[in-house]
Amino acid sequence: MTPFIGERSATGPVRMRGAWEAIASAWNRFWFTPGPASTLGICRLLFFGMLFVWQFPHDFTPWGAYSSVFWMPIWLFQTFGLRPLEPSMLAWLQVAWKLSLCLSAIGLFTRPAMIVAFALGTYLMGLPHNFGQTQHFDTLVVFASGALALSRAGDAWSIDAAIASFRAGVPSPLPDRDEYTWPIRFVWVAMALIFFAAGLSKWRHGGLGWIFSDSFSLTLLRQQYHISDGDPLTTWGIAVAHHVWIAHAMAASAILIETLYPLVLFSRRARLVLVPAGLLFLIGIRALMGPTFEQFMMCYVFWIPWARVVARITHPRRFLPVHHAPTLSSAADSPRRRVVF
């Protein structure tokens, strides 16, 4: 039956509205499906704890002592008129930052500590990039710190939470909340964008030649000549370079993992493959080529459903899967499962 013209024109906007509603609904489900406080709390503890341990021996004060000929400001510093401070000021600043990292990890004065950790961390981690080269091992750390600074990550697994619970007299279990999901998803999205951008750059500047020529073998060998921010942890890159098909396979794997990484945001199956593959890829870069992506790797704590892990360890017999209720680890998936204590 042929519809009237009026009917046909009405279905277009209706369909459009339906599509927008579906997109908005999926968007909200992705970011704001209620999740457990403990997963976010443990992510905070591990992330800031590892960052504190990693950064503790790093000294930022020498950057303030170099002559101005070195100063080549990046966009962020130029826009906000930021300069290298005097070494004595940098010394105080880094003490404050490292203290804030420690406080953020243990969860004491958590919210202000995380805000300070983000603000000072952005300045201190960004400072070396104004000296001639922008490196990329800490961008995800800045994004993760920013997300946590705006979050309620101190509600669980923190001294603040323990004090609040003690004052209340009886420990009350925290309900799942939307506030505990979005910071984790923020790190997922940032990581996916980073991998994707790196993959796209290789397609753009190298193309298929990046995989099928000698390019990757030559790069592996070139990295042995002390030209990176860190020397390769092994000499396996030389062995790989000797086997053309292994070098081609590794190059293809690298570019595929990077380009396909955004799938982890939509598919649980993709997550099961690409998340560990991405971590192995970073370990491979460090071992074979040198660049120091340890800080980036720290952000992998955000992929682990810690509430489940803790439940399995502490109450193995009471760990019962029940269908049709959302959890953090599976909120973007279907069917959903929930841990019941």
Binding site: H58, V69, G126, G132, H136, L150, D214, Y225
Partner: protein, 155 residues
């Protein structure tokens, strides 16, 4: 969560996604956003050049400063690149001389603080070195060619 907070957070999410998309599409870098161009080019040449600092001892011996501990907090990637960028500028020679003097001061400071066990230096030289990539990287310490760019004596 209040509507205002949800709106605020959505703006933050949009900032992350659009900021990243801008750098990806335009092939630019605005740290902490970036298009992540590292190792993205196709390398075909069997040779490559790099800037490298050498220390000169009082008896005239030259020592390649091929470890981060001699130049920290710089590293062997960042320092050559910043020196290269200086050389490309109009008053490059003057700037590089100032930079090498800073590196020499820093080297001695690190040595005094026992961060490395290198010898005391009387001067520092910047060379452009060229290597032919060896299948076993066996010539790391023996570049094919060296061109002196600048030299600074200690005070």
């Amino acid at each position: 969560m209040t509507m205002a907070r949800r709106l605020f957070l959505n703006l933050i999410f949009a900032f992350l996604i659009l900021g990243s998309a801008y750098d990806i599409v335009t092939d630019q870098e605005h740290w902490p956003f970036s298009q992540y161009p590292m190792f993205s080019g196709e390398w075909r040449s069997p040779t490559f050049t790099w800037l490298r600092l050498f220390g000169v001892t009082a008896d005239g011996r030259e020592i390649a400063l091929a470890s981060n501990r001699f130049i920290a907090p710089f590293d062997l990637s960042r320092l050559p690149k910043v020196l290269r960028r200086m050389l490309e500028e109009r008053d490059g020679s003057r700037r590089v001389a100032v930079a090498i003097r800073d590196c020499l001061t820093r080297y001695e400071q690190l040595r005094a603080d026992h961060h490395h066990d290198g010898p005391p230096l009387a001067a520092m030289r910047l060379y452009e070195v060229e290597w032919r990539i060896d299948p076993n990287a066996a010539n790391v310490d023996r570049p094919e060619r060296r061109t002196l760019i600048a030299e600074v004596a200690g005070r």
